[in-house]
Symmetry: C2
Subunit: 238 residues, 2 copies
Protein backbone atom coordinates (compact mmCIF):
# COMPACT_ATOMS: atom_id res chain seq x y z
CA UNK A 1 0.00 0.00 0.00
CA UNK A 2 1.08 3.56 -0.63
CA UNK A 3 -0.40 6.74 0.79
CA UNK A 4 -0.81 9.24 -2.02
CA UNK A 5 -1.36 12.92 -1.28
CA UNK A 6 -3.10 15.33 -3.59
CA UNK A 7 -5.23 15.26 -6.70
CA UNK A 8 -2.34 15.31 -9.16
CA UNK A 9 -0.71 12.19 -7.80
CA UNK A 10 -4.07 10.45 -7.42
CA UNK A 11 -4.70 11.15 -11.11
CA UNK A 12 -1.32 9.64 -11.98
CA UNK A 13 -2.10 6.51 -9.97
CA UNK A 14 -5.44 6.19 -11.77
CA UNK A 15 -3.80 6.81 -15.16
CA UNK A 16 -1.33 4.03 -14.41
CA UNK A 17 -4.20 1.66 -13.74
CA UNK A 18 -3.44 1.07 -10.09
CA UNK A 19 -6.17 -0.06 -7.74
CA UNK A 20 -7.32 2.64 -5.34
CA UNK A 21 -8.24 1.14 -1.98
CA UNK A 22 -9.87 4.26 -0.63
CA UNK A 23 -9.95 8.01 -1.05
CA UNK A 24 -10.25 10.39 1.88
CA UNK A 25 -11.35 13.86 0.98
CA UNK A 26 -12.13 17.08 2.82
CA UNK A 27 -15.81 17.67 3.28
CA UNK A 28 -17.01 19.87 0.42
CA UNK A 29 -14.30 19.01 -2.13
CA UNK A 30 -15.76 17.70 -5.39
CA UNK A 31 -13.98 14.61 -6.63
CA UNK A 32 -14.39 12.53 -9.74
CA UNK A 33 -13.20 8.97 -9.18
CA UNK A 34 -14.14 5.76 -10.97
CA UNK A 35 -17.13 3.76 -9.75
CA UNK A 36 -16.25 1.29 -7.05
CA UNK A 37 -13.61 3.44 -5.35
CA UNK A 38 -14.76 4.10 -1.80
CA UNK A 39 -14.67 7.81 -0.98
CA UNK A 40 -14.75 8.85 2.64
CA UNK A 41 -15.31 12.41 3.72
CA UNK A 42 -13.24 13.84 6.52
CA UNK A 43 -13.35 17.19 8.27
CA UNK A 44 -10.78 19.74 7.03
CA UNK A 45 -7.65 19.46 9.16
CA UNK A 46 -8.00 15.73 9.62
CA UNK A 47 -4.88 15.08 7.53
CA UNK A 48 -2.63 17.41 9.43
CA UNK A 49 -1.21 14.68 11.60
CA UNK A 50 -0.74 12.10 8.85
CA UNK A 51 0.12 14.02 5.70
CA UNK A 52 3.78 14.62 4.97
CA UNK A 53 3.48 18.04 3.38
CA UNK A 54 3.60 21.30 5.24
CA UNK A 55 0.44 22.40 3.41
CA UNK A 56 -1.76 19.31 3.52
CA UNK A 57 -3.69 18.52 0.37
CA UNK A 58 -7.46 18.09 0.58
CA UNK A 59 -7.21 14.54 -0.79
CA UNK A 60 -5.37 11.48 0.48
CA UNK A 61 -5.67 8.10 -1.22
CA UNK A 62 -4.55 4.62 -0.30
CA UNK A 63 -3.24 2.85 -3.38
CA UNK A 64 -2.42 -0.81 -3.95
CA UNK A 65 1.10 -0.84 -5.39
CA UNK A 66 2.45 -3.53 -7.69
CA UNK A 67 4.97 -5.84 -6.04
CA UNK A 68 7.32 -6.92 -8.79
CA UNK A 69 10.30 -9.27 -8.73
CA UNK A 70 13.53 -8.97 -10.70
CA UNK A 71 12.40 -11.91 -12.84
CA UNK A 72 9.38 -9.88 -13.97
CA UNK A 73 11.64 -7.46 -15.85
CA UNK A 74 12.40 -9.79 -18.74
CA UNK A 75 15.52 -8.58 -20.54
CA UNK A 76 16.03 -4.97 -19.51
CA UNK A 77 18.67 -2.86 -21.22
CA UNK A 78 18.86 0.13 -18.85
CA UNK A 79 18.20 -0.08 -15.12
CA UNK A 80 19.08 2.16 -12.19
CA UNK A 81 19.92 0.49 -8.90
CA UNK A 82 19.52 2.66 -5.81
CA UNK A 83 21.87 0.95 -3.38
CA UNK A 84 21.24 2.65 -0.07
CA UNK A 85 19.79 5.96 -1.24
CA UNK A 86 18.37 7.42 1.97
CA UNK A 87 16.80 10.73 1.04
CA UNK A 88 13.25 10.42 -0.30
CA UNK A 89 13.64 13.48 -2.52
CA UNK A 90 16.72 11.97 -4.14
CA UNK A 91 15.10 8.57 -4.72
CA UNK A 92 11.98 10.19 -6.15
CA UNK A 93 14.06 12.33 -8.52
CA UNK A 94 16.05 9.26 -9.62
CA UNK A 95 12.81 7.43 -10.45
CA UNK A 96 11.52 10.49 -12.32
CA UNK A 97 14.75 10.78 -14.33
CA UNK A 98 14.74 7.05 -15.05
CA UNK A 99 11.28 7.28 -16.58
CA UNK A 100 12.20 10.40 -18.57
CA UNK A 101 15.43 8.87 -19.90
CA UNK A 102 13.59 5.73 -20.99
CA UNK A 103 15.06 3.30 -18.46
CA UNK A 104 13.30 -0.03 -18.07
CA UNK A 105 13.14 -0.07 -14.28
CA UNK A 106 14.45 1.21 -10.97
CA UNK A 107 15.65 -1.31 -8.40
CA UNK A 108 16.01 -0.23 -4.77
CA UNK A 109 18.07 -2.32 -2.37
CA UNK A 110 16.87 -3.23 1.08
CA UNK A 111 19.00 -0.40 2.52
CA UNK A 112 17.22 2.36 0.58
CA UNK A 113 14.32 4.50 1.72
CA UNK A 114 10.88 3.00 1.09
CA UNK A 115 9.99 3.70 -2.54
CA UNK A 116 6.32 3.95 -1.60
CA UNK A 117 6.72 6.56 1.11
CA UNK A 118 4.71 9.71 0.39
CA UNK A 119 7.81 11.89 -0.06
CA UNK A 120 9.32 9.53 -2.65
CA UNK A 121 6.02 9.27 -4.52
CA UNK A 122 5.72 13.05 -4.56
CA UNK A 123 9.33 13.69 -5.63
CA UNK A 124 8.87 11.16 -8.44
CA UNK A 125 5.93 13.24 -9.72
CA UNK A 126 4.06 9.98 -10.12
CA UNK A 127 6.78 8.27 -12.17
CA UNK A 128 6.84 5.56 -9.50
CA UNK A 129 3.39 4.50 -10.74
CA UNK A 130 4.42 4.32 -14.39
CA UNK A 131 7.87 2.74 -14.32
CA UNK A 132 8.52 -0.76 -12.95
CA UNK A 133 10.04 -0.29 -9.50
CA UNK A 134 11.33 -3.21 -7.47
CA UNK A 135 12.24 -2.61 -3.87
CA UNK A 136 13.78 -4.44 -0.94
CA UNK A 137 16.27 -6.29 -3.14
CA UNK A 138 19.29 -7.84 -1.40
CA UNK A 139 22.71 -6.91 -2.80
CA UNK A 140 23.46 -10.55 -3.57
CA UNK A 141 20.32 -10.81 -5.67
CA UNK A 142 21.31 -8.00 -8.07
CA UNK A 143 23.05 -10.63 -10.19
CA UNK A 144 19.54 -11.70 -11.11
CA UNK A 145 19.26 -8.61 -13.29
CA UNK A 146 21.59 -10.28 -15.78
CA UNK A 147 23.29 -6.93 -16.39
CA UNK A 148 26.80 -5.63 -15.79
CA UNK A 149 26.76 -3.38 -12.72
CA UNK A 150 28.34 0.02 -13.35
CA UNK A 151 28.90 1.82 -10.05
CA UNK A 152 28.73 5.61 -9.89
CA UNK A 153 31.48 7.07 -7.72
CA UNK A 154 32.31 10.68 -6.86
CA UNK A 155 35.86 10.29 -8.15
CA UNK A 156 38.15 7.73 -9.70
CA UNK A 157 35.76 6.20 -12.24
CA UNK A 158 35.87 6.55 -15.99
CA UNK A 159 34.43 9.87 -17.24
CA UNK A 160 30.70 9.47 -17.83
CA UNK A 161 30.98 10.64 -21.42
CA UNK A 162 33.77 8.20 -22.25
CA UNK A 163 32.09 5.08 -20.88
CA UNK A 164 30.20 3.21 -23.59
CA UNK A 165 26.61 3.06 -22.40
CA UNK A 166 24.98 1.65 -25.51
CA UNK A 167 25.08 -1.97 -24.31
CA UNK A 168 22.69 -3.22 -21.62
CA UNK A 169 23.80 -1.97 -18.20
CA UNK A 170 22.63 -1.32 -14.67
CA UNK A 171 23.82 1.99 -13.23
CA UNK A 172 24.32 1.66 -9.46
CA UNK A 173 24.18 4.72 -7.21
CA UNK A 174 24.83 4.63 -3.48
CA UNK A 175 24.15 6.33 -0.21
CA UNK A 176 24.40 10.12 0.05
CA UNK A 177 27.09 9.99 2.74
CA UNK A 178 28.71 6.57 2.44
CA UNK A 179 28.56 5.98 -1.30
CA UNK A 180 28.30 2.48 -2.74
CA UNK A 181 27.89 -0.45 -0.35
CA UNK A 182 31.25 -2.14 0.29
CA UNK A 183 30.00 -5.68 -0.26
CA UNK A 184 28.79 -5.11 -3.80
CA UNK A 185 30.66 -6.77 -6.70
CA UNK A 186 30.77 -4.22 -9.51
CA UNK A 187 31.83 -4.61 -13.11
CA UNK A 188 33.06 -1.04 -13.58
CA UNK A 189 33.11 2.45 -12.11
CA UNK A 190 31.91 5.70 -13.66
CA UNK A 191 32.30 9.29 -12.46
CA UNK A 192 30.26 12.23 -13.65
CA UNK A 193 32.97 14.59 -14.81
CA UNK A 194 32.38 17.94 -13.19
CA UNK A 195 34.02 21.14 -12.12
CA UNK A 196 33.78 23.14 -8.94
CA UNK A 197 33.91 21.66 -5.50
CA UNK A 198 33.97 17.96 -4.68
CA UNK A 199 30.49 18.16 -3.21
CA UNK A 200 29.06 19.90 -6.20
CA UNK A 201 26.83 17.04 -7.42
CA UNK A 202 24.39 14.99 -5.39
CA UNK A 203 23.29 11.46 -6.13
CA UNK A 204 20.07 12.45 -7.89
CA UNK A 205 21.82 14.91 -10.19
CA UNK A 206 24.54 12.38 -10.97
CA UNK A 207 21.95 9.72 -11.79
CA UNK A 208 20.11 12.18 -14.04
CA UNK A 209 23.27 13.04 -15.98
CA UNK A 210 24.23 9.35 -16.34
CA UNK A 211 20.76 8.30 -17.49
CA UNK A 212 20.53 11.02 -20.11
CA UNK A 213 24.06 10.28 -21.33
CA UNK A 214 23.03 6.64 -21.80
CA UNK A 215 19.90 7.76 -23.67
CA UNK A 216 21.94 10.14 -25.82
CA UNK A 217 24.49 7.48 -26.79
CA UNK A 218 21.76 4.97 -27.60
CA UNK A 219 19.74 7.44 -29.64
CA UNK A 220 22.68 8.83 -31.56
CA UNK A 221 24.58 5.57 -31.89
CA UNK A 222 27.76 7.40 -31.01
CA UNK A 223 26.99 10.07 -33.58
CA UNK A 224 28.19 13.54 -32.61
CA UNK A 225 26.27 16.76 -32.80
CA UNK A 226 26.78 18.25 -36.25
CA UNK A 227 30.15 19.97 -36.52
CA UNK A 228 28.94 22.84 -38.59
CA UNK A 229 29.26 26.52 -37.97
CA UNK A 230 25.66 26.67 -36.85
CA UNK A 231 25.35 28.65 -33.69
CA UNK A 232 22.18 28.66 -31.58
CA UNK A 233 21.32 31.97 -33.19
CA UNK A 234 20.73 30.12 -36.42
CA UNK A 235 18.57 27.40 -34.94
CA UNK A 236 15.09 27.71 -36.34
CA UNK A 237 12.49 29.34 -34.16
CA UNK A 238 8.99 27.97 -34.00
CA UNK B 1 22.38 39.99 3.20
CA UNK B 2 21.60 36.31 3.29
CA UNK B 3 20.56 34.19 6.24
CA UNK B 4 22.61 31.00 6.22
CA UNK B 5 21.53 28.01 8.30
CA UNK B 6 23.87 25.33 9.54
CA UNK B 7 27.58 24.75 9.94
CA UNK B 8 28.10 23.26 6.46
CA UNK B 9 26.75 26.28 4.63
CA UNK B 10 28.53 28.67 7.00
CA UNK B 11 31.78 26.87 6.14
CA UNK B 12 31.05 27.28 2.43
CA UNK B 13 30.40 30.99 2.88
CA UNK B 14 33.70 31.35 4.75
CA UNK B 15 35.54 29.27 2.13
CA UNK B 16 34.19 31.57 -0.57
CA UNK B 17 35.61 34.56 1.29
CA UNK B 18 32.29 36.21 2.04
CA UNK B 19 32.00 38.62 4.91
CA UNK B 20 30.07 37.21 7.87
CA UNK B 21 28.07 39.92 9.57
CA UNK B 22 27.16 37.87 12.60
CA UNK B 23 26.80 34.29 13.79
CA UNK B 24 24.04 33.19 16.13
CA UNK B 25 24.65 29.91 17.88
CA UNK B 26 22.88 27.77 20.45
CA UNK B 27 24.30 28.14 23.92
CA UNK B 28 26.86 25.36 24.43
CA UNK B 29 27.73 24.72 20.75
CA UNK B 30 31.47 25.08 20.09
CA UNK B 31 32.19 27.12 17.00
CA UNK B 32 35.42 28.03 15.26
CA UNK B 33 35.03 31.24 13.29
CA UNK B 34 37.67 33.74 12.18
CA UNK B 35 38.60 36.60 14.48
CA UNK B 36 36.39 39.62 14.06
CA UNK B 37 33.20 37.71 13.35
CA UNK B 38 30.71 38.57 16.09
CA UNK B 39 29.24 35.44 17.67
CA UNK B 40 26.06 35.76 19.67
CA UNK B 41 24.74 33.00 21.87
CA UNK B 42 21.03 32.25 21.85
CA UNK B 43 18.94 29.81 23.83
CA UNK B 44 18.12 26.51 22.08
CA UNK B 45 14.82 26.92 20.30
CA UNK B 46 15.37 30.56 19.48
CA UNK B 47 15.62 29.82 15.76
CA UNK B 48 12.37 27.93 15.53
CA UNK B 49 10.44 30.92 14.36
CA UNK B 50 12.99 32.20 11.86
CA UNK B 51 14.76 29.17 10.44
CA UNK B 52 13.33 27.64 7.29
CA UNK B 53 14.11 24.00 8.04
CA UNK B 54 11.83 21.67 9.89
CA UNK B 55 14.76 20.61 12.07
CA UNK B 56 16.46 23.90 12.90
CA UNK B 57 20.24 23.92 12.85
CA UNK B 58 22.11 25.12 15.93
CA UNK B 59 23.83 27.86 13.90
CA UNK B 60 22.46 30.72 11.84
CA UNK B 61 24.70 33.29 10.20
CA UNK B 62 24.05 36.58 8.45
CA UNK B 63 26.29 36.87 5.41
CA UNK B 64 27.05 39.86 3.20
CA UNK B 65 26.44 38.71 -0.35
CA UNK B 66 28.18 40.09 -3.41
CA UNK B 67 25.99 42.28 -5.59
CA UNK B 68 27.25 41.85 -9.11
CA UNK B 69 26.14 43.41 -12.39
CA UNK B 70 26.02 41.81 -15.83
CA UNK B 71 28.97 43.98 -16.84
CA UNK B 72 31.08 42.32 -14.13
CA UNK B 73 30.98 39.00 -15.97
CA UNK B 74 33.44 40.00 -18.69
CA UNK B 75 33.05 37.61 -21.63
CA UNK B 76 31.19 34.58 -20.34
CA UNK B 77 30.83 31.51 -22.56
CA UNK B 78 28.15 29.56 -20.65
CA UNK B 79 25.44 31.18 -18.54
CA UNK B 80 22.10 29.98 -17.21
CA UNK B 81 19.28 32.49 -17.06
CA UNK B 82 16.47 31.66 -14.63
CA UNK B 83 13.58 33.61 -16.12
CA UNK B 84 10.82 33.32 -13.56
CA UNK B 85 11.88 30.18 -11.70
CA UNK B 86 9.66 30.23 -8.63
CA UNK B 87 10.57 27.19 -6.58
CA UNK B 88 13.59 27.73 -4.32
CA UNK B 89 14.63 24.06 -4.54
CA UNK B 90 14.67 24.28 -8.33
CA UNK B 91 16.68 27.51 -8.43
CA UNK B 92 19.16 26.15 -5.88
CA UNK B 93 19.62 22.96 -7.90
CA UNK B 94 20.11 24.99 -11.09
CA UNK B 95 22.87 27.02 -9.40
CA UNK B 96 24.47 23.83 -8.09
CA UNK B 97 24.39 22.22 -11.53
CA UNK B 98 25.75 25.37 -13.14
CA UNK B 99 28.77 25.32 -10.86
CA UNK B 100 29.32 21.60 -11.42
CA UNK B 101 29.06 21.89 -15.19
CA UNK B 102 31.55 24.75 -15.24
CA UNK B 103 29.17 27.56 -16.21
CA UNK B 104 30.43 31.10 -15.75
CA UNK B 105 27.38 32.49 -13.98
CA UNK B 106 23.69 32.22 -13.17
CA UNK B 107 21.45 35.17 -13.92
CA UNK B 108 18.03 35.38 -12.27
CA UNK B 109 15.40 37.70 -13.66
CA UNK B 110 13.33 39.98 -11.48
CA UNK B 111 10.47 37.47 -11.64
CA UNK B 112 12.43 34.62 -10.06
CA UNK B 113 12.55 33.63 -6.40
CA UNK B 114 15.18 35.49 -4.33
CA UNK B 115 18.52 33.75 -4.93
CA UNK B 116 19.60 34.60 -1.38
CA UNK B 117 16.61 33.07 0.37
CA UNK B 118 17.61 30.33 2.83
CA UNK B 119 15.94 27.56 0.82
CA UNK B 120 17.77 28.52 -2.38
CA UNK B 121 21.10 28.76 -0.54
CA UNK B 122 20.52 25.34 1.00
CA UNK B 123 19.41 23.66 -2.24
CA UNK B 124 22.49 25.09 -3.96
CA UNK B 125 24.66 23.34 -1.34
CA UNK B 126 26.63 26.57 -1.10
CA UNK B 127 27.24 26.86 -4.86
CA UNK B 128 25.56 30.27 -4.69
CA UNK B 129 28.59 31.49 -2.74
CA UNK B 130 31.12 30.17 -5.25
CA UNK B 131 29.59 30.97 -8.63
CA UNK B 132 28.83 34.50 -9.79
CA UNK B 133 25.07 34.97 -9.39
CA UNK B 134 23.32 38.09 -10.61
CA UNK B 135 19.74 38.61 -9.57
CA UNK B 136 16.89 41.01 -10.21
CA UNK B 137 17.77 41.43 -13.89
CA UNK B 138 15.06 42.85 -16.18
CA UNK B 139 14.26 40.84 -19.30
CA UNK B 140 15.25 43.75 -21.51
CA UNK B 141 18.68 43.87 -19.92
CA UNK B 142 19.59 40.28 -20.81
CA UNK B 143 20.97 41.60 -24.09
CA UNK B 144 23.78 42.96 -21.94
CA UNK B 145 25.11 39.41 -21.59
CA UNK B 146 26.29 39.62 -25.18
CA UNK B 147 25.24 36.00 -25.70
CA UNK B 148 22.65 34.31 -27.90
CA UNK B 149 19.66 33.32 -25.75
CA UNK B 150 18.68 29.68 -26.15
CA UNK B 151 15.29 29.07 -24.55
CA UNK B 152 14.48 25.68 -23.03
CA UNK B 153 10.95 24.54 -23.86
CA UNK B 154 9.08 21.38 -22.92
CA UNK B 155 8.39 20.58 -26.55
CA UNK B 156 9.01 21.91 -30.02
CA UNK B 157 12.66 22.91 -29.68
CA UNK B 158 15.66 21.25 -31.28
CA UNK B 159 16.77 18.08 -29.46
CA UNK B 160 19.27 18.98 -26.76
CA UNK B 161 21.88 16.61 -28.14
CA UNK B 162 21.60 18.00 -31.66
CA UNK B 163 21.98 21.67 -30.77
CA UNK B 164 25.59 22.82 -31.02
CA UNK B 165 26.49 24.10 -27.57
CA UNK B 166 30.20 24.64 -28.07
CA UNK B 167 29.88 28.34 -28.89
CA UNK B 168 29.14 30.91 -26.18
CA UNK B 169 25.48 30.72 -25.18
CA UNK B 170 23.01 31.60 -22.45
CA UNK B 171 20.53 28.81 -21.66
CA UNK B 172 17.23 30.34 -20.55
CA UNK B 173 14.80 28.35 -18.39
CA UNK B 174 11.40 29.58 -17.35
CA UNK B 175 8.68 29.31 -14.75
CA UNK B 176 7.56 25.88 -13.53
CA UNK B 177 3.95 26.41 -14.64
CA UNK B 178 4.06 29.11 -17.30
CA UNK B 179 7.38 28.37 -19.00
CA UNK B 180 9.41 31.12 -20.65
CA UNK B 181 8.24 34.72 -20.28
CA UNK B 182 6.30 35.81 -23.39
CA UNK B 183 8.12 39.11 -23.81
CA UNK B 184 11.57 37.61 -24.16
CA UNK B 185 13.33 37.75 -27.55
CA UNK B 186 15.09 34.41 -27.98
CA UNK B 187 17.61 33.29 -30.56
CA UNK B 188 16.63 29.61 -30.54
CA UNK B 189 14.69 26.92 -28.72
CA UNK B 190 15.94 23.65 -27.26
CA UNK B 191 14.01 20.71 -25.82
CA UNK B 192 15.46 18.01 -23.63
CA UNK B 193 14.53 14.90 -25.55
CA UNK B 194 12.82 12.50 -23.18
CA UNK B 195 10.43 9.62 -22.95
CA UNK B 196 7.53 8.97 -20.64
CA UNK B 197 4.89 11.49 -19.78
CA UNK B 198 4.92 15.14 -20.78
CA UNK B 199 5.51 16.18 -17.20
CA UNK B 200 8.38 13.82 -16.70
CA UNK B 201 11.11 16.46 -16.39
CA UNK B 202 11.11 19.52 -14.19
CA UNK B 203 13.01 22.73 -14.82
CA UNK B 204 15.95 21.87 -12.58
CA UNK B 205 16.45 18.46 -14.16
CA UNK B 206 16.19 19.96 -17.65
CA UNK B 207 18.77 22.63 -16.78
CA UNK B 208 21.08 19.96 -15.37
CA UNK B 209 20.88 17.86 -18.54
CA UNK B 210 21.42 20.91 -20.78
CA UNK B 211 24.38 22.18 -18.76
CA UNK B 212 26.13 18.82 -18.77
CA UNK B 213 25.46 18.37 -22.48
CA UNK B 214 27.12 21.75 -23.10
CA UNK B 215 30.07 20.70 -20.93
CA UNK B 216 30.33 17.36 -22.73
CA UNK B 217 30.34 18.96 -26.18
CA UNK B 218 32.95 21.51 -25.14
CA UNK B 219 35.21 18.94 -23.49
CA UNK B 220 34.99 16.42 -26.28
CA UNK B 221 34.95 18.93 -29.12
CA UNK B 222 32.16 16.96 -30.74
CA UNK B 223 34.12 13.74 -30.32
CA UNK B 224 31.97 10.70 -29.67
CA UNK B 225 32.46 8.03 -27.05
CA UNK B 226 34.76 5.37 -28.45
CA UNK B 227 32.92 3.05 -30.83
CA UNK B 228 34.71 -0.06 -29.70
CA UNK B 229 33.27 -3.28 -28.44
CA UNK B 230 34.17 -2.29 -24.90
CA UNK B 231 31.34 -2.98 -22.56
CA UNK B 232 31.25 -1.61 -19.01
CA UNK B 233 32.36 -5.03 -17.82
CA UNK B 234 35.72 -4.33 -19.37
CA UNK B 235 36.16 -0.89 -17.90
CA UNK B 236 39.08 -0.93 -15.51
CA UNK B 237 38.28 -1.15 -11.81
CA UNK B 238 40.24 0.90 -9.35
Amino acid sequence: MAVVEGLTLLSEALAAGLRIEAVYVHDGVALDVPAGVPVRTVRPGAFEGIASTVSPQPVVAVVAVPRRQLADLGSPTLVVVAAGVADPGNLGTIIRSAEAAGADAVVATAGSVDVWSPKVVRASAGAVFHLPVIDGVALDDLVGLGLPLLGAVAEGGVDHDLVPLTDPVAIVVGNEARGLPPGLALDGLVTVRHQGRAESLNVAMAATVLLFEAARQRRRGGESPPRTDRSPTRVARR
